[in-house]
Symmetry: C2
Subunit: 329 residues, 2 copies
């Protein structure tokens, strides 16, 4: 047997090994959303119980130098609330926080990290239900969040031909923010627009209330944690459909435009920058105006069609877009 080490297989190869050989899909009629959706959900009585789990590792997902511990605590909760929001009308309720700390971690750091957890949990009325602390070489934050809802969940696979593809706000800021941090570090004298981008990277907000407002009208829904390109692909593929995206309609913040003037750069951040944590959804054309009334920040960036590919257009011309992602391992 050939024994590669996993750095040569890469994260996606590894996930394939695991999915193909080891995921034991059972015939369980209570499961309403399975592995591969934003949360795993099952029915208990009239409730949908949704669970999401995320693990952040120092120097892989964050750098202590670039985000303060309170922000880090807040962000760890927000990104999980975002995965719950991506299931529709679900209320985040109980959270478990597993932590790994190097022994040299300061008490102040731990205190401020917990302040961040606490503030964000209180904001969403989430109960900190448990957790564990272990010794590790790098800081690890492993969060499991449980949400409960009485409505039907909105999955990634319900988009229909003719549905519009909508997003809840601008894209690209968070990716531009981390790019600035990579370039100049945290101590550089940033201007106001640049500080805005960095703040969008460090202080994400889950679109929970927005999800509650619009979910009953949606045919499919996900979040954009891995970038708009990935999200659109997921909704089209999981629904066994295709899509046309009008890149001129992708909303870009005025701050991103100020800092990176070139259109192409802005769109690259929007499509591949990741960590914007906006919702990406499909909605029947007839309901599109109503949604925009409910949430004025919504933009429609394209249409679902019956093909099996996602095509991108800019100023009316088709663009060849290639996935430009981030390799974890």
């Amino acid at each position: 047997m050939k024994n590669k080490n996993i750095s040569k297989i890469g994260e996606f190869g590894l996930i394939d090994i695991i999915k193909n050989k080891f995921i034991n899909v059972r015939d369980d009629k209570n499961i309403t959303a399975n592995i591969g959706d934003d949360s795993f959900c099952f029915k208990s009585g009239k409730n949908n119980i949704c669970i999401t789990k995320d693990m952040l590792v120092e120097k892989v997902h964050f750098k202590k130098e670039w985000i303060n511990p309170q922000q880090l605590g807040k962000k760890s909760i927000e990104v999980n609330v975002c995965d719950i929001a991506a299931m529709g009308n679900i209320v985040p309720k109980y959270i478990f926080i597993g932590l790994g700390f190097p022994p040299k971690t300061s008490e102040i750091f731990v205190n401020n990290l917990y302040k961040g957890f606490r503030k964000t949990c209180d904001k969403y009325k989430i109960t900190i239900a448990g957790g564990d602390i272990v010794k590790s070489e790098k800081i690890i934050i492993s969060v499991t969040l449980i949400g409960i809802g009485k409505q039907e969940i909105i999955k990634r696979n319900g988009a229909n031909e003719g549905d519009l593809i909508g997003v809840t706000n601008t894209f690209g800021d968070a990716g531009a923010g981390i790019t600035l941090l990579y370039k100049h570090g945290i101590k550089y004298k940033y201007n106001k627009a640049e500080r805005y981008l960095i703040s969008k990277q460090n202080n994400p907000k889950a679109r929970l209330k927005e999800a509650w407002k619009i979910s009953k009208y949606l045919t499919s829904l996900t979040d954009a944690s891995d970038g708009l390109y990935v999200s659109v692909n997921i909704l089209a593929k999981d629904s066994k459909k295709g899509a046309e995206i009008n890149m001129n309609k992708i909303p870009i913040s005025s701050n991103l435009k100020k800092v990176f003037e070139e259109d192409k750069k802005q769109l690259n951040f929007a499509l591949f920058g990741a960590e914007d944590y906006e919702l990406v959804f499909t909605v029947p054309n007839l309901k599109a105006k109503l949604l925009k009334k409910l949430i004025p920040e919504i933009s429609y960036i394209g249409t679902i069609n019956s093909s099996n590919e996602v095509r991108y257009f800019y100023n009316g011309k088709e663009q060849k877009i290639k996935y430009f992602g981030y390799k974890h391992l």
Copy 2:
């Protein structure tokens, strides 16, 4: 503000900081077992949903040299099933496995680890519902297990005066096993009795069916992952009672007696060795015989009383027992 690093505070100090300042206990009538029990449980319709979470870190909780990857995978699941068993008649259903791997980890290791996860999940009919893989310096296994049951859960705080304290099998083997590994490593030529002890350390089995059989008769219940001494203390303290333990009644395996001949050593392993994963419970005296019929391996080691201390007796004489624990950080 004095800024200690957390190695000086210790794990219990750290947990105190966190519990006192940051756990946000809410008035949520659906919560049926809170932080501090073996699992966190809440009501959803007629169901009790129980969640347990455990994080294992290489060189802190296991050594790759001493346990093979398939055993490690199995053990990671068993210890969580054990926390679900400790709530009574709850069926483990959905599991989430978060993993951290150093990039140099071999594909064979990952494959065998997953085989272990898969085999144990299949044994209990648990669905692997999701997870994530991150890069880390040491191997990390973070498991979240969700169980569902229709019966009342059995907590740690229901023991009454006069109840007998029971255990489901022998104590001390797992602790003796790890002691052997510390002394001689894995490649040493162990005799049969020694191999048994090491196997009890590396291949624990959760007492799930046992919990299902007896739970309706119990007044309190926990597992013995941290050693019998800790478990008895928990049941007495949480129930606001005391206890008398007859150390002569603590069941010790014939293999442990063979390898460590001194009574005192055997009892030390039993009380403080940890990782036996047996159930420790209290039951009204009248039901004690019935339980022993249902599970012949059960032993009764003591009685709950109205004092607020746990006293230990050996050959009729009181023994002064001091907690001799393991410092994580």
